[in-house]
């Protein structure tokens, strides 16, 4: 059988959602991936899969049928008093929407990987708003690009070339030569090395740096101390001048802001900075969302429930309060009595304290691949790979919805099908309500 090239494939790895990927398919299998970064290429090429549904008995996994795992999962979820459905980021919106239906049905908590990633950005937006734009605006207009607490060279490898730095745009015909790039970080990252300027800041001092920039912008440089968070005042003044005098500026915010001291207050502060810069020039902010559809999970949950993550349906309506209804708080407080991990890997990305409780409660994993969560799971349900074996909607880091493509066929059930079957069975168990 001849090799077939599928063009304009959408990469289901990071929030860049590059949609120019070429995938070579031979005999129904992917033989090569072109134009993607190493992260995307590895994702699309795939790895060893979980072979069959499994149930843990006496500490060992036993391969069973889909019927068996769906029955067992439905029973666990229908009985639980405070079940948690976590993950949802590496998954198309169609399945996320089904997940919300399940959460409502069983009075569960539903939370996404944003909880340990850009959740703080979202809470910051709830305080101050989101002055942003799509990435094409950066490509066509931006002459000042600031990467703050993010390292796209490793986490979003094509970001600079496709959207923000070397790319040529309508009003930036010379690409890189028409823009200035700042990196603000606690270490000299690979991105810092390719920037025009690297500003090193001490860990945990972003809030203070934003306050200093805003104070300088407001004309009160006189009260700002000589250094703030390890950054010299002259440098801060220089940064404010660069921001005020550009034609179109953007700050890309990363987990350097959400994973550190002050968390969402860092975001509130930088959002206010961007807001205030608009009195002088055009300025925007875009969070560097990690998983390819974590932004979509925030969107689909918001239109369905009113809130973007960390939602508690135990009272029949949605209650939202990060810090209370977020996964790690729930696990560390030992509140949760059953958990489903779908399209997210808490085993690898939650602190040990949370994993200890996950090990104690019934844990259902839905995922194409084995990972640390599998090591803690009681029930494992393998599924098709969304964006490679299933098509559906994903939202880029800037809110642009793109339909991912199905490139090859699969024998595995899709996440949506598994959720639908669990939901149907749960409804039967709960008496057809």
């Amino acid at each position: 059988m001849a090799a077939e090239t599928v063009s304009n494939v959408v990469c289901p790895l990071c929030g860049c959602l590059c949609d120019d990927i070429e995938v070579i398919v031979e005999d129904g299998k992917i033989s090569n991936v072109k134009k993607a970064c190493p992260l995307g290429k590895n994702k699309i090429m795939g790895h060893d899969r979980i072979k069959a549904p499994m149930i843990r008995e006496n500490g060992e996994f036993k391969e069973v049928s889909y019927d068996d795992v769906i029955e067992k999962s439905a029973q666990i979820l229908a009985q639980a008093k405070r079940p948690l459905l976590y993950g949802w980021a590496s998954l198309i919106c169609e399945a996320q929407r089904k997940g919300v239906e399940l959460a409502e049905e069983i009075g569960a908590l539903i939370d996404t990987t944003a909880s340990v990633c850009h959740g703080s950005t979202v809470v910051g937006v709830q305080g101050r708003g989101a002055p942003g734009c799509t990435l094409g605006e950066i490509k066509n207009r931006a002459d000042l690009v600031i990467y703050w607490g993010c390292n796209p060279q490793e986490a979003h490898p094509r970001h600079r070339a496709r959207y923000a730095h070397s790319v040529k745009g309508m009003y930036r015909p010379n690409g890189k030569n028409d823009r200035k790039v700042f990196v603000i970080d606690v270490r000299e990252t690979k991105t810092a090395k390719v920037a025009d300027e690297f500003v090193k800041i001490d860990p945990g001092y972003d809030y203070m740096a934003f306050s200093a920039l805003r104070t300088i912008l407001a004309g009160h440089a006189d009260v700002v101390p000589d250094t703030v968070g390890g950054v010299a005042k002259e440098k801060l003044v220089e940064m404010v001048d660069a921001m005020k005098s550009c034609e179109f500026g953007v700050i890309f915010g990363g987990m350097g802001l959400t994973h550190t001291r002050c968390r969402y207050k860092n975001l509130e502060n930088v959002i206010s900075l961007v807001d205030e810069l608009n009195a002088h020039t055009k300025f925007t902010l875009i969070p560097m969302r990690g998983h390819y559809n974590v932004n979509g999970s925030g969107h689909s949950l918001a239109w369905l429930t009113g809130y973007p993550f960390a939602i508690d349906f135990s009272r029949g309506y949605a209650w939202y309060n990060p810090g209370e209804t977020t996964s790690n708080d729930l696990l560390m407080r030992r509140e949760v009595d059953a958990m489903m991990a779908i399209a997210g890997d808490p085993g690898a990305h939650f602190p040990g304290e949370s994993l200890r409780h996950m090990a104690k409660i019934p844990l259902i994993q839905i995922d194409p691949y084995a990972n640390p969560t599998t090591e803690l799971a009681d029930i494992v349900i393998p599924t098709a790979v969304s964006g490679v074996e299933v098509d559906g909607t994903a939202y880029r880091m800037d809110g642009v919805p793109i339909r991912t493509r199905k490139v090859v066929e699969t024998e595995y059930l899709t996440d949506e099908e598994v959720l639908e079957r669990i939901l149907t069975r749960v409804r039967e168990l709960k008496g057809g309500n």
Binding site: L39, E154, R187, G256, T260, T326, L376
Partner: protein, 126 residues
């Protein structure tokens, strides 16, 4: 033993093996601790040596790696189960554990770097 500040985060290799976490490639990508040459020297370690990193929240053994982009006194462990064995679980009021800026101690060790399976098995035992 040296007092340092722990940062965790994404790397190209860790990200390239996100769906391949039970592999050797992921182990190589994530069971490591990066620091600059100066710090390596001060703890008497070379690249590839096992180092023990401990915080108030636990300890973990990982392989030492060099990255001169790190300022003195800072170490970097890629996000993943090894880093998460020692990060500060406090969620700062909004649900996100403290993955960056955690005070830690680092020293050279003869201990072994645990595999993913063995690392996670510790939580099953309570």
């Amino acid at each position: 033993m040296k007092e340092v500040i722990l940062i965790t985060g994404r790397t190209l290799k860790q990200g390239s093996n996100l769906e391949n976490k039970m592999s050797d490639a992921y182990f190589d990508a994530a069971a490591r601790c990066e620091m600059n040459e100066n710090l390596l020297t001060r703890i008497g370690a070379s690249v590839g040596d096992a180092v023990k990193v401990s915080t108030r929240f636990g300890e973990v053994v990982v392989n030492a790696e060099k990255d001169d982009g790190l300022p003195d006194g800072h170490i970097f462990i890629p996000m993943g189960p090894w880093a998460n064995a020692i990060v500060d679980p406090d969620t700062g009021g909004v649900g996100t554990p403290t993955f960056k800026g955690v005070p830690a101690n680092i020293e050279k060790t003869d201990g072994a770097v645990l595999s993913v399976k063995d690392l996670i098995a510790r939580y099953r035992e309570g």
